[in-house]
Symmetry: C2
Subunit: 214 residues, 2 copies
């Protein structure tokens, strides 16, 4: 009768739900909930409240993480990891594809990854806290995405005034700001974010006289 569906499943009640998970699984469960929790309330969220949400004692958390900082590092790692795919630099510089299409593809995929409440908020919290991972991420983004993007723009620009790194940051910032409005300020989500991204890209390309066929 209860071969697979173990445990009385007495939900809502505390303490009775389930116990004794394999350590790796429990650890992951804690990190997953911590991501949600800290994203919501900030990195100063209390471990007791996190334990309550997990339906677990507070001391259990310290069985898996020596300190709260260590837990926060695990949260950072989980959230930051894989956010910048290593395939993009190459795809962004593939000149057999029109730049507009490359930009559309990149920001379509990238926005799907970052327009996510948990990422947006933890990124902002960690940025405000001056976390080194945050700085490294932005440096990496600049080096590996935006700088190549500048080079691609330069190669195609029809204007006498050359594109500058600030122009790329402006394009990037205008797009990221969509997510900031939605997840940090909790303003309503635009009806068609992809369309707004496309318009931002077209504004950028038009400014440098780059045709959509190039």
């Amino acid at each position: 009768m209860d071969g697979q569906t173990e445990r009385p499943a007495r939900d809502g009640e505390d303490g009775a739900t389930r116990r004794r998970l394999p350590p790796a699984e429990r650890r992951q469960q804690i990190v997953d909930e911590a991501v949600r929790f800290f994203a919501e309330v900030g990195l100063e969220g209390k471990t007791r409240e996190l334990a309550r949400r997990l339906g677990v004692t507070q001391s259990l958390i310290f069985n898996y993480f020596a300190t709260k900082d260590e837990l926060i590092d695990a949260v950072y790692e989980k959230v930051y990891i894989g956010r910048l795919s290593p395939a993009w630099p190459e795809r962004l510089t593939d000149r057999s594809v029109p730049l507009r299409d490359r930009l559309l593809a990149f920001y379509s995929e990238y926005s799907a990854l970052i327009f996510e409440r948990e990422w947006m908020r933890i990124f902002m919290f960690s940025g405000l806290a001056g976390a080194s991972l945050n700085r490294r991420y932005l440096e990496h983004l600049g080096d590996v995405i935006l700088l190549p993007l500048l080079a691609e723009t330069e190669a195609l620009a029809q204007t006498d005034a050359p594109p500058k790194m600030e122009d790329v940051w402006n394009l990037h910032g205008g797009i990221v700001y969509i997510g900031i409005r939605q997840h940090i300020y909790r303003m309503p989500k635009p009806a068609k974010p992809q369309e707004e991204i496309a318009r931002a890209i077209d504004k950028y390309l038009l400014y440098f006289g780059i045709d959509s066929e190039n």
Copy 2:
């Protein structure tokens, strides 16, 4: 000898510097330091640390503010107030001036007001905390600045596709992002922010085929 320059001025030492200010003055001194303090460490900064920075006992703070939340409200008020001058809506819609000039004037003045570490960070902290003042500010900004800006753009746009509110937000976001990079992420300040703002505005106007004379 010490007619005006009262007090031994034994600086650096604690407790001896000065005492018994007029209440209004002391209150303001506390709020001023609290703005700096909370902007730096976040709204969860401890009252004891704030008191230490003020060279004053912690209990004194509670002589002027019943609760910490009340102090934070005072900080919000001080920081949010006067950030959106009531003169702008009128100036932004003055069609005797070219739209480009109006935009340049607005964002020149506005950026001078908001590209300020204290404002930027407290705005972000309060936004993350879901403070109602933050939401109201953004609503107000939308109604009183961006919406009129949309109307002005519509009136001059030469394109068949009409300008959308999202375009104005994109312009705004791209500019604000300069300040976010600088003060939230602590990245280096652009060499000439005003120039970058001008370029952002020109990208915007060009996209709608609006000439700089109009």
